[in-house]
Amino acid sequence: MTGAVVRPLPDPHAFLARRARWSAPEILFWLSTLLPFWLFPDYLSLASQIAVWALFAISVDLILGYAGIVTLGHAVFFGIGAYTAGLLGKHGWGEPLSGLLIAATAAAAVGFLISFFVVRARHLALLMITIGIVFMAREAANALHWITGGSDGLQGIRIDPVLGRFEFDLWGTTAYGYALAVLFVAFVFCRRLVNSPFGLALQGIRENPTRMLAIGSPMRWRLQQVFTFSAGLAGLAGAVLAQTTETVSLESLGFQRSADVVIMLILGGTGRLYGGILGAVIFLVARDQLSDVNPRYWYFWIGMLLIGVVLFMRDGLLGGLSRLWDRVRGRGA
């Protein structure tokens, strides 16, 4: 092709439709998430934890990977969702699906309030606001121990069978099915969202905020919208964890949890939704395997892995894999 040829602008709707098409590897991936029921029936509670963390990581990916808001405080919303669902279950509202909706709405409502703080600041101030809010939430949950159970955690949660039929059992069969179903529904929704004009606007804000303002995109409002939505998703993840484990600990809204979810996302790769899922699988399986060896020093290797990924694989494992895939295909063609 010569340099003089001007490529015609692709039709934006066709562009988005092409991006939104489901590919074969994606369908295969989602089918394979059913395998643990038969292959690893002893690890179903781990699998349901992975599904919860994957959903949490996807919620962070929306604001960090797509909109470019660096946060170390997203566990606030995870914790609000967990405590809301837990408190509902403890005080007689055991119906799980409505509990999920209420918990996610509560987290989204708080997220909307906090979004006013988040869109005002940048750089260090933004980071400090997110860190400050997560520490505040933890102090508050600890101080309100007559509601939250304080450092003992919230006990005595009772959850009814899902849809009145599937009771939460000791082996985690229902728990995994439930967590996986929630993850899949939320994922389909997020996938639709990032492949919409709204999703493109977010990526534009991440790449060049000045230009987005210049072409008339309501930047702050877009960021507030996605932040609120992401907070709701994080709350959903927290609610699923509370319902499936029937307990909520103070750690669920701590700084460590906020950092962990960002680490998972970075390991997997940001800005592609599947990165969060892959990161959650690797992180939790590795922790499950390694923590038997030396629980206290586990974070040494996590820290080293994080530095390695940031130094040598800037778009995470999924980014590295997709580059590899491109190269293999390029050679084959």
Binding site: L124, Y299, F300
Partner: protein
């Protein structure tokens, strides 16, 4: 009533001086290179362990370990700066946050591996122990010593930054890095030096803190949050701003813990979030 208030003010001021020592370096290096170094608190922890190891295992006198804490931390920090951090000055803020928090995790785990998770004790010489009683207010000798050290260092820093050639170069680079480079100032060298001195001061602050707040592997992360609060409230690159913010946080934290202990540090975090909402550039920051 008034005497307890005076006691809270004194202790809070002393605590603020500790925070000032630990945070002033980060404030200047952030202003200079825009490098978000979350490992700064871990450098303070390193200084703490240097003091503990030298006094308790090697039998050094406490006062001799303080310069050692400064020098060793400064030397270690420069190695990290040259080998690792300098690759990240032009990278995104997220990458800087990730690589330094990775380092925090490694430092915490390494400290737990080497020293266990127990609180480390430190013996200070007898002339630094005890307290004077002034009009019913208890004035701790060690805390007075802390204040004296921090004030002397603050004065040296301000005078050095105002009058020496290096100080002028650093100020020029903070104000306008491109212009400073254009005028032939070796900004990278100035930065490496500033980074070493700043981390060394954090190490000194960590060493001085052990007697008061104890030392365990969680020290780095705990003080990181306080240090970041001071830096973000004081505004980047400003020694005076760091000093004022450190005193404010120190006194505020002491007062909260004394008068409303059930809230813990909640009010400090709330104060910071509110302040950053109203003034994202900090109290004294220009950017």
């Amino acid at each position: 009533m008034l005497t307890t208030l005076a006691g809270v003010l004194f202790d809070g001021f002393a605590y603020g001086m500790l925070l000032f020592l630990m945070s002033v370096g980060l404030s200047v290096t952030l202003g200079l290179m825009n490098f978000t170094n979350l490992a700064h608190g871990s450098f303070a922890m390193l200084g703490g362990y240097v003091v503990v190891v030298l006094t308790e295992r090697a039998g050094w006198p406490f006062l001799a370990t303080l310069p050692a804490a400064f020098l060793i931390t400064a030397a270690v920090s420069v190695v990290f700066e040259r080998l690792l951090f300098s690759r990240f000055y032009r990278r995104s803020e997220l990458d800087q946050v990730l690589v330094t928090i990775g380092l925090v995790f490694m430092a915490t785990a390494a400290a737990a591996y080497l020293f266990g998770t127990v609180q480390q004790p430190v013996q200070v010489p007898s002339f630094l122990r005890g307290a004077w009683n002034v009009e019913g207010v208890s004035i701790g000798v060690y805390r007075t010593f802390l204040i004296a050290v921090a004030v002397v260092i603050a004065v040296v820093l301000v005078v050095g930054l105002e009058t020496t050639r290096l100080g002028q170069q650093i100020r020029a680079a903070v104000d306008n890095q491109r212009m400073a480079r254009g005028l032939g100032i070796d900004v990278d060298k100035a930065f490496a030096l500033t980074f070493a001195v700043g981390s060394g001061l954090a190490g000194l602050g960590g060493g001085l803190a052990v007697e008061w707040v104890g030392l365990d592997p969680a020290f780095g992360l705990h003080f990181l949050v306080y240090v970041l609060i001071v830096v973000s409230m004081g505004g980047l690159g400003s020694i005076g701003g760091s000093f004022a913010a450190a005193v404010l946080i120190g006194v505020g934290d002491m007062a909260c813990k004394y008068y409303v202990p059930e809230l813990g540090a909640f009010l400090i975090y709330a104060l910071m979030v509110l302040l950053l909402f109203l003034r994202p550039q900090g109290l004294f920051g220009r950017r």
